[in-house]
């Protein structure tokens, strides 16, 4: 018995040493707590990231000692701390937060905290985290680069588009019908290039959280009217009827961003034109309601196959029935529209039947507060 007991102690010691070595060799910061959230172990990388000595943290209550902040520099409530959520749910939680270092500096970290469960009861937690300052800086630089590159690409495009329009409109004298047709092809191509640049730019800004909202009161039907004027040429080339109706008596004004709103409407109408057969119809209806404004973009085009409905708003998704017939889509438009609407506190959904057409609906709330990050 004595030998067995000694063996068990040796084995336990070995396991403890292995766990210690494993914990200390994790390439990211790691903190272990007991069931009450008191720090029981902390690895050298965590100490280095947070700027503490081990003796200053061991035995301390983790949520109090290491303050977590949100984007707005406000301390996150205990109930919303990832470790609390992990204890309450019994599951791993991954989040980005900001930690306050010992010297007071604010540090962005990506963390995963997992409860240690024994018979389904949490007896502690282990949090692994890494400093993402450099990643955020690279993201910011990437956004700046895309923004600058987009601007530089657009400047010559603006000149091509403006002069082509001027030629068509007769500012430089008469042009023949054949010449006008060629100029419209040039305008159409510059429009497509512009759309692509806008899409890439806006996706980058949404994903990095740097899109800027300039909110003011505006009428959605007027914004839709302006978009339709820009897209009439594309519609007429396919002999598609493009109509706008303001339905109901309630106001269609909301406090929102004019350019983002037009980007949303433009994407939906462009899609409807693109995926509707020649001679079809695209109807835009703007309806003011009590608490929001509902915009409907309906076409009688190819429709979306039922098995693709779940993926319509996914990045790079294109339905099989469109890939075969229309090669210019990127699969980014609806992903962007959804992201932009979320940023404006709006909602989007659709109804579609293959071969009959698709109707997209979106709403924007009349009363809301839009904040920039």
């Amino acid at each position: 018995m004595a030998i067995n007991k000694d063996t068990a102690i040796v084995q336990a010691e070995e396991q403890r040493a292995q766990a210690e070595a494993l914990f200390n060799s994790i390439g990211e910061g790691a903190i272990a707590t007991d069931e009450f959230g008191r720090i029981t172990r902390i690895n050298p990388i965590a100490l280095s990231i947070l700027g503490y000595k081990e003796s200053e943290l061991l035995g301390e209550w983790f949520p109090k000692k290491i303050v977590a902040l949100n984007e707005q520099d406000v301390a996150i409530n205990l109930i919303d701390r990832p470790i609390t959520k992990a204890f309450l749910s019994g599951r791993s939680v991954t989040e980005k937060v900001f930690y306050r270092k010992r010297d007071g500096q604010k540090l962005p970290v990506m963390l995963t905290v997992s409860p240690i469960l024994l018979a389904d009861r949490p007896i502690g937690a282990i949090e692994v985290f890494r400093d993402i300052t450099l990643e955020e800086e690279i993201d910011r630089m990437k956004s700046e680069f895309i923004s600058l590159a987009s601007h530089q690409l657009r400047t010559p495009l603006s000149a091509i588009k403006t002069y082509s329009h001027m030629l068509v409109d007769g500012y430089m004298g008469d042009v023949t019908t054949a010449q006008k047709k060629s100029l419209r092809t040039i305008i159409g191509a510059t429009n497509r290039m512009n759309e692509l640049i806008s899409t890439l730019l806006n996706i980058t800004r949404i994903e990095s959280g740097t899109i800027v909202i300039n909110a003011r009161m505006l009428r959605i039907d007027r914004a839709a009217e302006e978009v339709i004027k820009e897209l009439n040429l594309a519609a007429s080339e396919k002999n598609i009827t493009l109509s706008l109706t303001q339905s109901g008596k309630l106001a269609t004004s909301v406090k929102t961003d004019n350019l983002i709103l037009k980007e949303i409407i433009s994407n939906l109408i462009s899609n409807a034109i693109k995926y509707t057969t020649e001679g079809g119809a695209v109807d835009v209806i703007v309806r003011g309601r009590n608490k929001d404004v509902l915009v409907t973009v309906a076409d009688n085009g190819w429709g979306i196959p039922k098995d693709a409905h779940d993926q319509v708003f996914s990045k790079f998704f294109r339905a099989q029935n469109t890939v075969k017939r229309e090669t210019t889509g990127t699969g980014l438009g609806l992903y962007l529209v959804k992201g932009l609407l979320e940023r404006l506190n709006g909602n989007i959904w659709f109804e579609s039947e293959e071969g009959k057409g698709t109707t997209f609906f979106f709403t924007l709330p009349k009363e809301q507060r839009l904040r920039n990050n």
Partner: protein, 128 residues
């Protein structure tokens, strides 16, 4: 019609807007950066300024800081840029810009329409 100052460093675009707006019977002056615009404003009194943001020597935002719109309430400034949804556009609104138009999206007839709408809102305010 109205007096319009175009502030745009791209010579081709500046020339194009000048042709379009002159054909609408507006009196048009051109400047190619913010500093040149400030110099022109010593003698030219515009009803509307079409202002680019990214320009050499003096950009649009710096121009707006110098040309205080609070002291020129009758002048409308339309920002004409390719940097939509950017912090620069947000800043231009804070400095009193009336509206922002994206160059590469805007066809000449739409530019003329937006300018006329802005000028009409000027006259309404003047009447009030």
């Amino acid at each position: 019609m109205a007096n319009i100052l175009i502030v745009e460093d791209d010579k081709d675009l500046n020339n194009a807007y000048s042709i379009i707006l002159s054909s609408q019977d507006h009196t048009v002056e051109s400047a190619f950066d913010g500093q040149e615009a400030l110099d022109k404003l010593k003698t030219f009194k515009p009803d509307l300024i079409l202002l680019d943001l990214l320009m050499p020597i003096m950009g649009g935002l710096e121009f707006l800081q110098h040309f205080d719109l609070k002291t020129h309430p009758a002048v409308k400034v339309l920002i004409f840029t390719n940097m939509e949804n950017s912090p620069e556009v947000a800043e231009s609104y804070k400095l009193g810009a009336h509206r922002c138009i994206i160059k590469s999206w805007t066809a000449p007839h739409n530019l003329a329409r937006v300018i006329n709408e802005a000028l009409e809102s000027n006259s309404v305010q003047a009447a009030v």
